[in-house]
């Protein structure tokens, strides 16, 4: 159980984390979601005591992280794949980590096997790919068989196989009753993995609920139509209370009416429909809209939502 109370971190003029309060419960995967620069990594650094909060507190199992008797037996963390000395072999990296908490040497072989790095154990991690580095970081996190696991953007830059592996690992860990706290900037990734979502933007808490609740609250019914009279249908639909989300050629995307209502509207007004299909607005889009006011750096490109969704689609 991780608990934050009014957690605040200021770097000079920047307020990275702003009065954040939340609890991460055991036995489920809690997704920590927010756009880049929202303060996810800073929050995790505050949990681990790498940074000192400006105000507020964060505890792990009721204690400040540095007061835990055997830190590795309680918390395993992967902050980034680069937190290793590249000149050290994978085995020696895990050995020096295990020794701090007096963990038995044979455990190193187990976690190497578990993450699939046994064959390269004697190789210096300098030559590792991002995915291998990520696995090495996870191996270190699992060394103490901890009840709480924290992963910061674990799927970043991984190939689909690697993503699937991490997703399954997290599910297996949560199924064993462990607390899994994982950050991501991709809604689509969390939608498939997390049971609970903590959404932040600009260091502030935006939403804290189950993934199902988040989806129910944020996904809207969309209807996609193709018609030779798009202007006319758009006008009628708007009059009926719908929002026209997209208009291109003979294609319309309408929000706020069901497919049946759109069909009836067209029939009553003698508008020919060539296509009528209900669709869920992507959660990615809901997430983008939710956090849009809090995104730190807006791109100058015309349609960030479209680009982000496309990107998210690839990763998922």
């Amino acid at each position: 159980m991780i608990e934050a109370q009014g957690l605040t971190k200021r770097y000079g003029d920047t307020l990275a984390v702003d009065h954040l309060s939340f609890a991460v419960e055991p036995g489920r995967i809690t997704g920590f979601l927010g756009p880049n620069g929202a303060g996810k990594t800073t929050t995790m650094r505050l949990i681990l005591g790498l940074d000192r909060p400006t105000s507020g507190t964060v505890t792990v199992n009721g204690k400040h992280f540095s007061q835990l008797a055997w830190p590795m037996r309680e918390v395993g963390a992967l902050l980034d794949a680069k937190a290793v000395h590249g000149g050290r072999s994978a085995y020696n990296h895990l050995l020096c980590v295990a020794q701090t908490n007096s963990l038995p040497k044979r455990r190193i072989g187990e976690v190497l096997e578990l993450v699939g790095l046994t064959e390269v154990a004697k190789k210096r991690s300098k030559g590792f790919s991002l995915g291998m580095g990520q696995r090495l970081g996870i191996a270190a996190a699992l060394l103490g068989d901890p009840q709480i696991l924290m992963f910061d953007e674990p799927v970043n830059g991984l190939d689909p196989e690697g993503i699937l592996w991490i997703r399954n690992l997290m599910k297996a860990l949560a199924a064993e009753g462990r607390t899994v706290f994982v950050s991501s900037h991709l809604m689509s990734e969390m939608e498939n993995t997390a049971d609970h979502l903590i959404v932040i933007g600009r260091g502030r808490l935006i939403s804290n609920c189950t993934t199902a609740e988040f989806i129910a609250a944020n996904s809207q019914q969309e209807v996609q139509v193709r018609t030779p009279q798009p202007e006319e249908l758009a006008r009628l639909a708007s009059a009926a209370g719908a929002t026209v989300r997209d208009e291109a050629g003979d294609r319309l995307v309408l929000l706020g009416l069901t497919a049946a209502q759109v069909g009836d509207l067209a029939f009553e007004n003698r508008i020919r429909l060539h296509e009528l299909a209900p669709a869920h607005a992507s959660l990615e889009q809901a997430f983008m809209e939710l956090t849009a006011p809090s995104v730190e750096f807006h791109s100058g490109l015309p349609d960030p939502v479209e680009r982000e969704s496309a990107h998210a689609g690839e990763v998922a």
């Binding site: 790498l50 835990l68 055997w70 937190a83 000395h85 020794q99 578990l114 270190a140 860990l173």
Partner: protein, 302 residues
Amino acid sequence: MAAATAHEALVGGTVGRRPAGRASFLGTVRSEFTKIRSVRSTYWTLLALVVACIGIGALFSWGQTQRLQSFRSGARLDGQKIGPGAAAHIAAQIHSSAASISLFGLLIGQLIIIVLGALAITSEYSTGMIRTSLSVMPRRGTLFAAKGLVFGLVALVTGIVTSFLAFFAGQAILSSQHVSTTLGNPGVLRTVIGGGLFLAVCGLLSFGIGAMLRHTAGVIAAGIGLMFVLWILSQFLPSPPSGWFGQADIDKWIPFNAGSSIWENQANGLHPFSPWIGFAVFCAYAVAAIVGGLVIFLRRDA
């Protein structure tokens, strides 16, 4: 399937029952020893240290034998024949400082141990390893002390071994002109052990600066400035107006001068501090750097 394996291995893992007490200092010391012995840069730097100290000491010793030989063969200086008295005087001079002559390489060796001392802590920051280190041992004082202790021991053992090897190599060369000394002569054993102590404390001074600056290049520059440049400057700066205080009163406080009083010959009168007092002053500088480093290590975000 990986996940299935994950499940079994995690449940049936051999982590063992949670022991009583808490993660100990000894465990962190073991970890730090693993760290220092498992990267190649340690071995290269230590090898460079040994080679430089022995090589330069041997070269300097050989130079002294050549000088003495030319005096003994009666070479002419400014058209005047050198008398046998002058050669005997030079021989006595070399013999009395034979230990220091063979340790001349420490002048360069100190710079190498400064690099090693800096790397012992700055490499954690430059590689990002510090984030892992502190998230498995969040008690920063424990981590700092273990790191300092392990590095200090490695530096001390290497320093003493290097100092003795350089001594024996130098004496072997000086003995060709029968001006070598032995460990049994007064002050010689202190000089040779002192050479090793000097190297170790140089390294620890650099370690302390490393914890303050966290940046390898910056620490090396600061260390070299403190040990080498300050010393060179002290050789060239004009004397203070007479009647105030002597040049030597300032010079003796220069870190290199204070620290080297333990291994440089006292007979030449260059060091107003006695060997152990001078060395204690040097240790005080190192302690100041380490305390400064510790305060920053404890307080600043990692």
